[in-house]
Amino acid sequence: MSTERSQIVGQSRRSTIILGLAAWIAALLVFFPIFWMVLNGFKEEIDANSSPKLIFDPTSDRYTEVTTQTEGLLGFQEAFTNSFVIVAISTLLVLIMAIPAAYSLSIRPIAKWRDVLFFFISTKFLPIVAAILPLYIIGTRYGLTNSRIGLVILYTAMNLPLAVWMLRSFFSEVPKELVEAAQIDGAGIRGQITSVILPIVAPGIAATALLCVIFAWNEFFLAVQLNSVDGSTVPIWVSSNVSTRGNFLAKLSAASTLATLPVVIAGWAAQKRMIRGLAMGAIK
């Protein structure tokens, strides 16, 4: 398809090479900070905290350091467990609520589906920071700060509008006749969703879930305000490796690499779906 298209656009061979080269240079430049971070994670502090060098004795000591538990400090294991649990549960909750909602806004739409969709998206315009005070106060009163539950609720709320919006777009790509055919073939609402709709929108659901995971995994503000003591997540653990005393660059790099790895790998694996998911559905 793309080769065909480039022929249509009539590229000469030379310009293909030049532009391909440009794309590669851009890719390497953009990726460089990440490459550098990974590299620094394998250095001794002394090598990291000096004028940049590419040649050094690689060591995995920093990884050992950041993953060993120090008494009284937020541990690697604790932070990752918290993050996994919070992200997984909140994403699951988002999907459980967003899938039926998207169905109600596209396949068998309620009368005012546009208004409801606007409402969902408009909540994304309300700054979280403006809500942090009441959240903090409510959270303290009901013991939701420094617990996983508080963040689960907030991350669910944070991602729900986006998920509803994206899923609605995917659902509205399901031809109406298909659902009607299933109805006539005797399928009830459950049968329609599981046998006909879900198989078609599965890539869209995957893309949506991935975005929710990315945003929840990476979220720092709410985590640091509400869960800085217990139930702390990975972003807090990363920032705890910054210290005012001594050198910490290599350690920080190792921690950063570990912290970003799960989401980066998931994102890499699902990038094609994301492309489809982010816009193709979102615009239809």
Binding site: S2, V9, T16, L19, G20, A23, A27, P33, I34, W36, M37, N49, S50, P52, M97, P100, A101, S104, L105, R108, I110, L117, F119, F120, I121, T123, F125, L126, P127, V129, A130, A131, L133, P134, Y136, I137, I138, T156, A157, L160, K176, N218, F221, Q225, P235, V238, S239, V242, L249, T260, V263, G267, W268, Q271, I275, L278, A279, A282, I283, K284
Partner: protein, 305 residues
Amino acid sequence: MTAATADRAKLLAKRNRLEAWKRRLPLLPALLFTIVVTQVPFVLSLWYSFTEWRINPPSPRTFIGVDNYTGLVSNSFFRDAAFTTIFMTVASVLLSLLLGTGLALLLDRDFFGRGLARTLLITPFLIMPVVAGLVWKTQMFNSSFGVLNWILETLGFDSIEFVSRWPAGSIIVVLVWQWMPFMMLIVLAGLQGQDPSVLEAARVDGASSFSIFGQITLPQLRPYLELGTLLGTIYLIQVFDHVEVITGGGPGSTNIPYFVFQRSIGGGWRFGEASAFSIVVVVASIVIANLGLRVLSNLLEGEAP
């Protein structure tokens, strides 16, 4: 006969009501959840904003009317923060959109290792903002160990303390670095959704590559560019993490989210006043949201499922 007809009409009306609820039901959990979790805090904020309420030193909450708001008008820090927010949002959205579009155009052609190049390019979007901020601050911008300064020095220039010299600029660089891939993905989706036969027709009509781009590709991309702007704005206007780790709210880089934080749980502990800030932010956001939603309604225009 008339009794039977009336019965029948009642039956049909009942069916219609039932159907309406059957349609609404699946929506309710998401809707109720969103209303409770997002609207309740704002109602509380609204109430707090009319009170004088300090935690440190502790003071009882007293109702003071609109004093917090009048104080706000004359607060030059707030004005600065508002300006910084606008500047940072506009600059980072536009730059990431521009660069993202450029990258998408490059990636839309086939070349050696295209898949891998795309993989590298999307990675910054996946990186945790805290990590992105820290890595750029400590390993790129830093005056003694930073790569940028090492390059400058190698080329014979003096090293620069980027973060203290251009606090907002440094933050924008990192934001653009992270959001450019997102814009790229959206534009890429738009490019791949293009109808090749239209391009072919233009080719046959003898249009140059430039005029094809300007007159066919760009108009087709418009909804995607609008979508990118909308989503980018939603997220970038709320940037907090980057400010926190890169400058810690240093001069010229405190945006409104950070400012509200500083004034309240970030150390100021003036809940009443901070709430008033929040409410102003909410109102401003609603204004911006209205503009954004207009874009959105264009996207949805004419669409009836």
